[in-house]
């Protein structure tokens, strides 16, 4: 129905956003790709073609294997805690409880705490082995304190990040839960379906898409966890809590190895694209409805 003139106007209105995003995406990515094939360190002004050397060195570096494993543990651990915990919390808050609004606000609050604050508060006031709350709680039950960030660095970071993302999972699953058809539930209950079978045959299928969305979106953000590592363990001890983004950061801004860091960046793109592929399909399907 749109006239020719309207189409032209519409294109003109879209142009700035589209062109800017295109430049924003293509130019830096092309630059990273270019650097990844160069011998280029900030300490040595001579740049030469490196072929696939950067990729070879980045991948065969023992730190790379450790970083990949840590990335998988971090993403997997946080997902496990937030999805299971979020499902439980959403079901709980959806019950007719007193002060539901306030409970909801308390539960989602951690999401709004900036990552550096969250990480420092946990590192110091909760996890400090001498003065921290956890050390005090352990002492109450007669256990020795744990030096969380030195003894179990990755698990500690998983805990901190999970605390930040649990509200997200809860909020989204709760929103999805509240669109569940109450009459259907009642009908099932009258037909004698118990709590468990109602959960398995009605609630879970209804939530399946929301759960998928939570998993995919969290994965995209969790693949990029950085600030929490920087201010707590700085990737250590050794490489015990170094993930892929942190390794790239170390190569680029601490070792000044532009070529190798760029190769790492391209590897990160490949990983993220695999996840993005599935997410886009789900959102795309939704757009048609």
């Amino acid at each position: 129905m749109a006239t020719m003139q309207m189409r032209t106007t519409a294109r003109a209105m879209m142009a700035p956003a589209v062109i800017l995003l295109l430049v924003w995406m293509a130019v830096p990515l092309a630059a990273t790709l270019y650097y990844s094939f160069q011998n280029y360190t900030l300490l040595n002004p001579v740049v030469s073609f490196a072929g696939l050397d950067n990729y070879y060195y980045f991948i065969t570096d023992p730190n790379f294997g450790a970083a990949v494993l840590n990335t998988i543990y971090l993403v997997g651990g946080v997902l496990l805690i937030t999805v299971v915990g979020g499902l439980f919390l959403a079901l709980l808050i959806d019950q007719p409880i007193f002060g539901q609004g306030i409970v909801r606000i308390l539960v989602i609050s951690p999401f709004f705490v900036m990552p550096t604050v969250a990480a420092l508060v946990w590192k110091n006031m909760l996890m400090n082995p001498i003065y921290g709350i956890f050390a005090w709680l352990l002492s109450l039950v007669g256990l020795p304190p744990i030096d969380f960030l030195a003894q179990i660095p990755l698990l500690s970071i998983i805990l901190i990040v999970a605390w930040q993302w649990l509200p997200f999972a809860t909020l989204i699953l709760l929103t999805a839960l509240q669109s569940l058809d109450g009459e259907q539930m009642e009908a099932a209950e009258m037909d004698g379906a118990g709590v468990v079978s109602r959960f398995i045959y009605l609630v879970l299928p209804h939530l399946s898409r929301a759960i998928t969305v939570v998993i995919l979106i969290e994965t995209i953000f969790l693949l990029g966890v950085f600030a929490e590592i920087l201010v707590t363990t700085n990737g250590g001890p050794g490489t015990a809590s170094t993930n892929l983004p942190f390794l790239v950061y170390t190569q680029a801004l601490l070792n000044f190895d532009v070529g190798s860091a760029s190769a790492g960046g391209i590897i990160a793109v490949v990983v993220a694209n695999i996840v993005a592929f599935f997410l886009m399909r789900i959102i795309g399907k939704n757009l048609e409805a």
Binding site: W24, L89, I220, F226, A227
Partner: protein, 276 residues
Amino acid sequence: MARSVTTSRRITFTIIAWVIALILFFPILWTIITSFKSEGDAIAFPPVFLNFHWTLDSYREVQERSDYLLHVWNSAAISFGSTLIALLISIPAAWAMAFNPGKRTKDILMWMLSTKMMPAVAVLVPFYLAFKNLGLLDTKLGLIIILTMMNLPIIVWMLYSYFKEIPGEILEAARMDGATLGKEIVYVLAPMAVPGIASTVLLNIILSWNEAFWTLNLSASLAAPLSTFIASYSSPEGLFWAKLSAASTLAIGPILVMGWFSQKQLVRGLTFGAVK
């Protein structure tokens, strides 16, 4: 749900929910409480919960550090600036997509979204080098540019999903009555879209305020927003927990309150409309 629930069951669920909610909120509550302690009380062991000498000293000291207000200003300038610029670019685009969709509109939307999936580390190196050469390292302008582009896809998506709910017939009627495109947008669309635009702004200010990859890597002191400033407390020079808590409370306070008001928009914005 209209089903009758026994009171005892309701009370049991209430107690469980409140206990869990308070545990999850505890780190924030503890930060707020600690911010009113002296440094001595802050590291007291066993910890003191409420029976200590309440003081505003830490707030005073944080404020007195001449640079604190600078970082607040940086955070505000960067998050408001980037959100507003992105909004100005996005409104026309979202208008076009919602009211004059073409064959490729859906593809363009999906492509815009896909730019959000690009991991930041992948482009850290070129941005760092370009910023270094252009003198944009540690400047507010540099961070505003980065965050504008970071926010753009989310803003277009959110505005698009709000605009879609406005019946296009109303706009057409205005056009029939002889309104120009500018008038159509300003007098007809804008008033109806205000709630949607406000929610979009709110969510994006929250996201920019808390951004902690680019700010940490591209700012050091002059342009450092609060997230970078607070990160400087991680150096092991001593235990200044009361001051860390006061600075943290001030940094998260306003955003926390904004967040409480944006729960619904948060779901919509962060799932790109996949969950409403």
